[in-house]
């Protein structure tokens, strides 16, 4: 059951982000989209990045593939991948060995990510020919095998069909086949199931989990759905206003969250709500990233904010070896603040879990 703990023991870092800052030039102003994130990605794990829209979770992972929009740039920091600093890459030629080959991406909407004028098989084969040095019949054979691996029945026939002959879930399977066809080490799944139905969502997530084992992938999930996170993630990073405010093992984030923003996200879930009572909702709007942020970015929306939250940015406080959070509440001098009532049921399980150990 705790298979992901094994991963933790032989920690091998595949990707190391250090104090990354990303800015966008917008109407003569500078927007600080990513404000100094440091992150280690371990081999074979699945890391989920959660946060509301505009928190910068997509921008953050786009930097790994050099896919920032033209008005965006890396201001400072480094992204180390197999001895190279991806943050220093400038021209498309640099990226050729990385994009697809080492780091591949599954995007949100399978309706728009396939070429409608090309048969499915050719689209899968394209990446194989480019990155695995196979040609003709060999490449085709592999393409058909990949289609079969992602759960498409009758792949020889489906190879010759066009995207419009596939349903949404099937198209997403094709997109996954294209991504793994490049034989990448890291797979970035940007909201892989948001455009799909619940029943299809569960199947695609199961597929990704199986593919991960089979192809030894490291997967980064980007999502706003905490249910999805609970299902697939070994580790969870919670993003707010361009920073990871809390990161830890999935169990630690769900049963023992420490940051008020994580509390707010969890307790606004209808699954945890009590019928007839109001759901917890986060007040206010996300902070303006054009301005310099003083203190904790979440403080203005946090009813439990301390005075210091408005003055000084909190550093990471370690909760355990694998769990840290940027909140002054963890400081030894901080007053004891109770977590929201809605989380009691979830947090009680943590006690049971700890006793088990």
């Amino acid at each position: 059951m705790m298979s992901y703990l094994d991963v933790k023991i032989n920690k091998e870092v595949v990707l190391c982000v250090n104090d990354l800052k990303v800015n966008f030039k917008l109407r003569g102003q500078v927007l600080n989209a990513i404000r100094g994130i440091s992150l280690d990605l371990y081999k074979g794990e699945s890391l989920a990045i959660v946060g509301e829209s505009g928190s910068g979770k997509s921008v953050f992972t786009k930097t790994f593939m050099g896919l920032l929009e033209s008005n965006g740039y890396i201001d400072s920091g480094s992204i180390m991948y197999s001895g190279k600093d991806l943050a220093k890459f400038k021209v498309a030629k640099d990226w050729r060995g990385i994009r697809g080959k080492e780091i591949a991406m599954v995007s949100q909407d399978p309706m728009t990510s396939l070429n409608p004028l090309k048969i499915i098989g050719k689209q899968v084969q394209e990446g194989i020919e480019l990155h695995q040095n196979l040609k003709g019949a060999q490449a085709k054979k592999l393409a058909i095998k990949l289609l079969e691996d992602v759960g498409i029945s009758d792949p020889e026939k489906r190879y010759y069909q066009y995207p419009h002959e596939f349903s949404g879930g099937m198209r997403q399977r094709v997109v996954i086949a294209i991504a793994i066809g490049c034989n990448p080490k890291i797979l970035i799944c940007d909201e892989p199931t948001t455009a799909l139905d619940v029943t299809m969502q569960a199947q695609i997530l199961d597929l990704l989990k199986n593919i991960q084992k089979e192809y030894n992938l490291t997967i980064i999930y980007i999502t706003h759905d905490l249910g999805v996170v609970a299902k697939v993630a070994d580790r969870v990073g919670v993003m707010y206003a361009g920073d990871i405010v809390e990161i830890g093992l999935a169990d630690e984030i769900f049963y023992n969250a420490k940051h008020p923003y994580t509390w707010a996200l969890l307790s606004s879930l209808p699954q945890l709500g009590i019928k007839g009572e109001d759901l917890y909702s986060i007040k206010g709007t996300p902070i303006n990233l054009f301005k310099e942020i003083k203190g904790d970015a979440f403080a203005p929306r946090n009813p439990r904010a301390l005075k210091i939250d408005f003055e000084l940015t909190p550093p990471y406080f370690e909760v355990s070896k694998t769990h840290k959070a940027k909140t002054w509440l963890l400081d030894t001098r901080a007053p004891k603040v109770e977590y929201p009532k809605a989380l009691k049921k979830l947090f009680d399980e943590w006690e049971g879990y700890r006793n088990e150990k």
């Binding site: 059951m1 139905d197 569960a202 609970a230 769900f254 879930l269």
Partner: protein, 321 residues
């Protein structure tokens, strides 16, 4: 308890078809349900199951092929008199899914909210119209000053509030909410759900809540109908449906809801529904009340099976992907 409740809307053997004779597609097939006054009735199903079509035929956008819809004792489907049509337009309102697409980009909020008033001449004077709009905006948690702004100046959550405000000016009794929160961000969903339930209490509203997310429907709905390929396969009170699902499709749907609980979620087995597990060729299924207030779509054979084991059809686990 049931009998005391007043039925507001009755849908009887509703059938909706699209296309011409040669290429006919039945979107909704023989659907019947009642909605009681003051309750929230949830309708869940996958995309393409026909849940939105049901909502649209109640509000008279889609034509009914057969069957009838009865509102407050009066038939509102098919041909009806002009005065009744006007009455229904006032009393039944709809909230749409995507607030980015459902508001007129070129109109000011003031006009968007009062469009219904203009169309039906529901206001006596310009001053009265302004007061109605201001009150509606206040009711949904926006400021009256916002009336002079354009939709693009608002965030997704605020736009959805505008969408709700424009239904409120009509003083409706019954609101069809078609996936009102699925296009919104997580943190804003809770706000809109809270707003909907507080408006229900304040204005004595009845909701038909259409969604694909069962966990949201469980939170907000009193009773839930599960729809699959145009037919309601199971209908029960929300908690009953979650604690005692009978139809295999409901079970599959319930197993697919992601729970925010990693340890439960990682050990969960997902059930996959295969409609070929029914043998409906000779023994046609009927919509039957199997326990009080709990309806399922099943044939004789399956009902006997249920009565013996307390379970309709076991899903073959080997079929799960």
């Amino acid at each position: 308890m049931k009998n005391e409740k007043e039925i507001l809307l009755e849908v009887k053997n509703l059938k909706v078809e699209f296309g011409s004779k040669k290429k006919k597609f039945t979107a909704v097939n023989d659907v019947s349900f009642d909605i009681y006054k003051g309750e929230t009735f949830g309708l869940v199903g996958e995309s393409g199951s026909g849940k939105t079509t049901i909502g649209r035929s109640i509000i008279r956008i889609n034509q009914v092929s057969s069957g009838e819809i009865i509102y407050n004792g009066e038939k509102i489907s098919g041909k009806i008199s002009k005065s009744l049509d006007k009455e229904i337009t006032k009393k039944i309102q709809m909230i749409f899914q995507d607030p980015m697409a459902s508001l007129n980009e070129r109109a000011k909020v003031d006009y968007i909210v009062s469009e219904g008033l203009y169309n039906l001449n529901n206001h006596k004077s310009e001053d009265e119209r302004k007061t109605i709009v201001d009150n509606a905006l206040l009711e949904v948690g926006l400021l009256p000053e916002f009336a002079s702004r354009f939709p693009h100046e608002f965030s997704g959550g605020q736009r959805q509030r505008i969408g709700i405000a424009r239904t409120l000016v009509m003083k409706p009794e019954f609101i069809i909410a078609d996936e009102p929160i699925s296009a919104l961000d997580v943190s804003i969903r809770a706000q809109v759900l809270n707003l909907l339930s507080s408006l229900q209490k304040a204005n004595d509203l009845t909701y038909l809540f259409i969604a694909h997310d069962l966990s949201v429907v469980r939170f907000i709905a009193d009773r839930i109908g599960v729809i699959y390929k145009g037919r309601i396969v199971e209908l029960a009170e929300a908690e009953e449906l979650f604690n005692n699902p009978i139809h295999p499709y409901t079970k599959a749907l319930l197993s697919a809801i992601p729970q925010p609980d990693p340890r439960k979620e990682k050990n969960k087995k997902i059930e996959v529904y295969d409609s070929s597990c029914h043998s409906y060729d000779e023994d046609k299924p009927k919509f039957i009340e199997i326990e009080e207030g709990h309806f399922i779509l099943a044939n004789e054979d399956e009902i006997n099976q249920y009565k013996e084991s307390g379970n309709m059809i076991a899903i073959d686990a080997s079929k799960a992907v």
